[in-house]
């Protein structure tokens, strides 16, 4: 049995340096976006999904758990942030906080239920839970059903940053993304991350060392869900709406796709994957449902020939960990 992440490479001492270099390059590129003429809204959207994919990857790539319902955290945080901003008229920073707290609470509950089963059962359970939540949101009054929450005020962050200005908004989203990304990087390279890795590598052995592995997986689940919520809260400012799309299971599928394309268990893979998929959706929008067909084909191609994903293949070629 080959596990999902067996192709990832051992961390060599030089890896940290490589990762740092790539991170700096990535950050610089992103900082330069507003001066490049690239359409910033596209990049902002991609950044939100990249963060979501990174959070998702924390669970699958480092915890070995394939959640097929990760959109529920993004959607829940989106709805709660949107509600807080629009109805309670909270300032942006508190609105984001509300979203994160909501995703945190949801991940506690869903994690408690789903972590009891592994492998495909875990995937099916997370999928079913997200579908359950979808129907709840469809009927709950505060989400406004099909209409979604619209016209969300962007407001002034910390009272000074005017988020209705695209450039300001862009840098706020970028800072949010980089903060989230670094946090995930830290989690992976923390004492906790080390245990998580050992569980992924050889769970019976980790148990025999005295680790109650379910607790670690649970924490990974909660962290992943909460961070996915952070991505969802940020996205509210970009899209200025919160809708059912974000909690539908097709969105969860897209997150899986992004991570798979970029490379499961790689640090930068989900970012690359998110940009690739969002760009594809954006520029192939005229192709209608063929976008679905293309996405499906990418899934198939990735699974059959390209299991390491883009970044994974590159890393493998250069024998580096990225």
């Amino acid at each position: 049995m080959t596990a999902l992440t067996d192709d990832t490479l051992p961390v060599t001492p030089r890896a940290m340096r490589d990762e740092m270099i790539v991170f700096v390059v990535m950050a610089l590129l992103l900082v330069a976006v507003p001066f490049s003429g690239i359409y910033p809204f596209f990049v902002m959207q991609a950044l939100c999904f990249a963060l979501l994919a990174c959070a998702f990857n924390l669970l699958i790539g480092y915890g070995g758990l394939l959640s097929f319902g990760h959109a529920m955290f993004m959607g829940t945080a989106g709805y709660c942030s949107a509600h807080a901003l629009k109805v309670w008229a909270l300032p942006p920073e508190l609105g984001i906080l509300v979203g994160i707290v909501a995703a945190f609470g949801l991940s506690l509950i869903t994690g408690f239920i789903s972590i009891r089963r592994q492998g495909i059962y875990f995937s099916m359970i997370t999928l079913a839970l997200s579908q359950l939540l979808y129907f709840i949101y469809l009927q709950a009054p505060f989400t406004h059903g099909e209409d979604g929450i619209q016209g969300i005020p962007q407001g002034h962050m910390f009272g000074v940053l005017d988020l209705s200005k695209p450039t300001v908004l862009y840098y706020v989203v970028l800072v949010g993304f980089l903060a989230g990304f670094l946090l995930i990087y830290r989690i992976i390279n923390s004492p906790f991350g080390e245990v998580l890795k050992s569980i992924r590598e050889n769970e019976p052995r980790a148990i025999s060392l005295g680790y109650r592995t379910d607790q670690y997986k649970f924490l990974a689940f909660v962290l992943s869900g909460t961070l996915a919520g952070f991505a969802g809260a940020l996205k509210v400012f970009v899209a200025q709406n919160a809708s059912l799309t974000d909690v539908h299971w097709t969105m969860s599928g897209e997150v899986v796709l992004m991570t798979l394309v970029g490379g499961l268990g790689t640090i930068f893979g989900p970012v690359v994957g998110a940009f690739a998929i969002i760009a594809m959706q954006q520029y192939l929008a005229g192709f209608g449902q063929w976008v679905t067909v293309i996405q499906g084909s990418i899934f198939v191609i990735c699974v059959l020939t390209f299991r390491r994903g883009v970044v994974g293949e590159v890393a493998h070629y250069f024998r580096r960990s990225l």
Partner: protein, 406 residues
């Protein structure tokens, strides 16, 4: 579809070359037809709406007056995110002036905000939500064709007056269904009818048998379907299966399009009552338009009321531009001009645009013909009654639009 891709790509290329020229000449307009191109609403809007917009441009004769009008189309895939992203990009990059169609209330409302922010023009034809001209009304928006308020007031009123005084509702359990049920109930009670019961069903229910059994048991004369799309067609089919219509109860579909009737088939749909604001076989003018339209459609489909609304809306918009004589890029100004002119076209007849953006025109109550009465592949309806625009749509006194408080 191919056409829209080509025009999308072409449009992007053109935008670069023509953007500079636009300011000099000021008679360049770009229309974005934003619709569901392949999903649930593709048949009632979609490529047909783009075609309708093109026909409106051709029929306007503005090209002869030195105007340069381009149309690009986009697929919002029923996702508000994608809809707003496309709309934004159209305004920011492609320099689009007006967005038309946009079925799906969620996307429609989301796009509404973008258009307002960018000061464009927004002629919505495909969305049902009456919020567009109420709580979320915008000085940049005109809502053509229909809305939930109208649907409730026409069908409900007509049926109660015809003796259908006891109702049972099958309602889609979300905002749209609730609004339809609420508004229709008000009309029924106001007209002396009574709602004897109802059941809320979840969206996208494949099986309605449980709900239909309850409707059957209620013995109500009319079973009101406050749902849409696949839910409505499924309910109607399954009602036929359970012998509900044969048992003497009547179905009232509050929202039904020509393409739905086509999908259900006359055998099953016969005798259904519902309201539309346009039908191809109304008079010589509608027939002439529809014939031209259907010849250009790849499946030969007749226009739906949504597509007709796109045509009429674009025609009126171009009339306003013609009256302004140029400078089409200030959305509020153009919409104000549109509101100041009475609407009149071959499809909807005479009407007006209210200050909240609501277009007022006649609405018609139809009944689906028996298969034996149908003379052609699209010969589906017989006219039962006409409701004048001021009766059918939200009176200004009831509108919650902030624009009215000025």
């Amino acid at each position: 579809m191919k056409k829209s891709i080509a025009s999308l790509l072409l449009g992007t290329a053109l935008a670069v070359t023509t953007a500079g020229a636009a300011f000099a000449q000021d008679k360049t307009v770009k229309i974005g037809a934003l619709s569901d191109q392949s999903g649930l609403y593709a048949d009632l809007g979609g490529p047909g709406s783009t075609l309708a917009a093109q026909m409106a441009v051709e029929d306007s004769g503005l090209a002869a007056k030195g105007w340069k009008i381009d149309i690009i189309s986009g697929d919002h895939q029923n996702k508000p995110d994608i809809g707003t992203a496309i709309a934004r990009q159209w305004f920011d990059v492609d320099k689009v002036d007006i967005i038309v169609d946009v079925p799906n209330s969620g996307v429609a409302l989301a796009v509404n905000n973008v258009v307002k922010e960018k000061n464009g023009v927004y002629i919505n034809s495909g969305a049902a939500t009456s919020d567009l001209t109420n709580a979320q009304c915008s000085p940049n928006t005109v809502h053509w064709t229909y809305d939930t308020y109208m649907l409730a007031h026409t069908t409900g009123q007509a049926l109660v007056k015809a003796g259908g005084d006891t109702w049972f509702f099958l309602t889609a359990d979300y905002a749209f269904g609730a609004a339809l049920e609420r508004d229709t109930t008000a009309v029924i009670t106001a007209n002396g009818g009574k709602v004897v019961g109802g059941v809320k069903h979840p969206l996208n229910t494949p099986d309605f048998s449980s709900f239909l059994l309850q409707a059957q048991a209620s013995k109500a004369k009319i079973i009101g379907l406050a749902n849409a799309g696949g839910d409505t067609t499924n309910t109607i089919k399954q009602a036929a299966e359970f012998g509900i219509v044969k048992g003497g109860q009547k179905l009232a579909a509050l929202l039904l399009f020509l393409t739905d009737v086509k999908a259900i088939g006359l055998e099953t749909a016969q005798g259904l009552n519902f309201t539309e604001t346009f039908y191809w076989d109304m008079n010589d003018q509608t027939r002439a338009f529809s014939k031209r339209f259907s010849e250009k459609m790849k499946n030969g489909a007749m226009p739906t009321m949504v597509q007709a609304g796109v045509y009429a809306g674009v025609r009126h918009y171009l009339k306003a531009l013609d009256a302004l004589g140029g400078n089409p890029h200030d959305g509020v100004k153009v919409v104000d001009k549109m509101k100041s002119m009475p609407t009149e076209d071959e499809l909807f007849g005479k009407g007006e645009i209210q200050p909240n953006g609501r277009t007022i025109h006649n609405a018609y109550l139809f009944e689906v013909k028996k298969p034996s009465e149908s003379k052609g592949p699209w010969d589906f309806y017989k006219l039962v009654g006409t409701v004048s625009g001021d009766q059918a749509f939200t009176p200004l006194s009831e509108s919650k639009c902030a624009l009215l408080k000025k």
